[in-house]
């Protein structure tokens, strides 16, 4: 038993009865009055493959950080269903605004794990061309991306386009002023946006109780749009609810808040030590609700996948992880001189002057060498 620190909960886990669940922790399909999902075996297998891959990425990147090959990694273990379910509900024309832990959403947008690792390797502060994947750069400041997403959604609305925007936020972000403002803007302009709130129960060391006295999804009602709590470890429920919310946005009915009720199984980042603030029993409880385990059980029990197929996915993920490792190890850059490249789009005399200073100081060759 790990230490019982100040994060000990004296209350039972928040009421789960009122969340949307379509696949229970035992791997059984369950019905919900408002949401349903017809899903073929191949599609379900695709979701499983996504989740296994992204969990394997997490393991590999955590190792790479421990080996000094990444400056940091923000693990998503436990949140695979929340991200893959929401991510696979998106259409190519939709646009997403991630935080820094959205490697699963990024995966669904077509961004490779190696691209996701670029900023953690610190070869860049970005990682990809947002317009190539309709996925904004990672956002490390908490909550600001939701306002950027609403602005983008207002632009979509102004264009008369039939696409939606998804803003990724967490339980900690719900205390930020930018989130309150983004809810106001989205509501009054009926912006085509879905707020994907991954409530993983911990904002670094602070439990959700430090952010709220009411279930977070209920806040939406006060802003004038629907909020729905979903079993965030159920990829079917996440897919169904996300599809419905995105469709609602695309048809001009305004925003939705989806609270994916999930759990951050790992540390906040590789710099964090969760044993200082949370008890092992809580982690073990959530282990029993694992999103991948329940889908594996479902696939096996329904005959959609046999052990050979499941083993094949594991092997495929291992192979992909080896490729990821090689890609990360071979990532070099930036050059010192490149820090001046995109400060401004148009010429700026001070930047030009300082670029010349660097060249004069360390020489053109050194300034142009990949680090």
């Amino acid at each position: 038993m790990a230490r019982a620190g100040h994060g000990t909960r004296d209350e039972a886990p928040a009421a789960e009865a009122d969340f949307v669940q379509l696949l229970n922790p035992a791997g059984e399909r369950v019905e919900h009055a408002d949401y349903s999902l017809e899903i073929a075996g191949d599609e379900a297998k695709g979701l499983y493959r996504d989740m296994v891959h992204i969990r394997r990425v997490d393991v590999e990147c955590t190792s790479l950080q421990r080996q000094g090959q990444l400056a940091l990694w923000a693990p998503l273990r436990g949140q695979e269903a929340a991200q893959i379910g929401a991510g696979r509900a998106l259409e190519p024309d939709d646009f997403t605004f991630p935080g820094y832990r959205e490697h699963g959403i990024a995966w669904c947008r077509g961004i490779t794990p190696a691209q996701s690792a670029r900023s953690f390797r610190q070869v860049t502060n970005g990682g990809w061309d947002p317009y190539e994947y309709n996925h904004a750069e990672p956002s490390i400041v908490i909550g600001n991306n939701a306002l950027n997403a609403v602005g983008y959604a207002m632009g979509v609305q102004h264009d008369g386009a039939e696409s939606a925007v998804m803003a990724c936020i967490g339980d900690g972000a719900m205390s930020q002023g930018d989130i309150a403002e983004s809810f106001v803007w989205a509501s009054v302009f009926q912006a085509p946006i879905v707020f994907l709130l991954q409530n993983n129960h911990w904002a670094i060391s602070e439990p959700t109780e430090r952010q709220t006295r009411i279930p977070l999804y209920k806040r939406a009602e006060g802003f004038g749009f629907p909020g729905v709590r979903v079993d965030g470890n159920d990829v079917f429920a996440m897919l169904a609810v996300s599809r419905a919310a995105l469709a609602r946005a695309r048809e001009g009915s305004g925003p939705t808040l989806i609270e994916a009720f999930t759990y951050r199984m790992g540390a906040h980042t590789t710099s964090d030590d969760p044993t200082r603030y949370r008890i092992l029993a809580e982690v073990e409880e959530w282990e029993r609700k694992d999103p991948i385990d329940r889908l594996r059980t479902y696939l096996s029990s329904t005959g959609a996948a046999d052990q050979e197929w499941l083993d094949g996915i594991d092997a495929e993920a291992d192979a992909a992880a080896r490729e990821l490792r090689e890609a990360v190890l071979s990532m070099v850059g930036p050059t010192p001189i490149s820090i001046f490249d995109h400060v401004y789009k148009e010429p700026h005399p001070l930047v030009d002057e300082e670029r010349a200073e660097m060249v004069a100081l360390i020489g053109a060759e050194e300034a142009g060498s990949l680090k």
């Binding site: 600001n144 950027n148 207002m154 789009k345 700026h348 001070l350």
Partner: protein, 324 residues
Amino acid sequence: MTELTLAKAINEGLRKSMEDNPKVLLLGEDIGKLGGVFRVTDGLQKDFGELRVIDSPLGEAGIVGTSVGLSIRGYRPVSEIQFDGFVYPAFDQLVSQVAKQHARSEGAITMSLVVRIPFGGGIGAVEHHSESPEAYFAHTAGLRVVSPSTPNDGYWMIRQAIECADPVIFLEPKCRYWEKGDVDESAPPSSLFSAAVRRTGTDATLVSYGPSVKTCLAAATAAEAEGRSLEVIDLRSISPLDVDTVAGSVEKTGKLIVAHEAPVFGGIGAEIAARLTERCFHSLSAPPLRVGGYHTPYPPSRVEEEYLPNVDRLLDALDRTFEF
């Protein structure tokens, strides 16, 4: 050539930009039906509609934060912060998003947006309505900061700022909104980021921008009566700085005084003094001096005359450079 107030000149510039480019949107508090508390956007919502002139909810982070998203989508948002002292709720969006999106995306995202802020004092206002926050923004790489001091510049600089591919903080000297001047709509006076010599002289250089340019010109007139010939430079752009124009003047006069309403400590005057000292050390016959706000909160406006740079304080600084 048309005679307009600064407020009307900016209004006309906004109108022309909106006519030229359908991607230009205005957003801010009370900018629609009311036309803005200073009427700078007067009539624009009537002519361009509520989709292009958006009365926003009351939240500065929201105004700037949604501008970022609109810009990523390909719009050219021109937002208004109602008063200088209200821009701080948007500070994170300006510094961490507006300024850094282009760099973070390795050039993929173009952050073309303008944030208009009526700034400065001298209008007898209450707290938070008279501040000069330019140094905060000039300190941030990725932002450009400009300020027109004349109606002609107001008309042209707002148009140039909107056309600029980089984000521009557009500081409007609110105490000059109602002063008239000729606007030549046929051609822009110069690039957005170049300084202008407003008065030529030989004995000392006065550098300023925005509301204090007029004060410097008045000081130059007063100094002339005392037999001193002052050159007055209007920076127009605070970031980037047109150091060449100032250096050319200082090499001629050997004396430099920088005036602005913002507190002098850690301010634009300090930056100019440091750069010009480095560049023109052997031309200077006295240390550069700064005249500006004190290291106090902006005071109750009953005593703002003592806080702001005025002709007496400028002439006193001039005497000190000559006595050195």
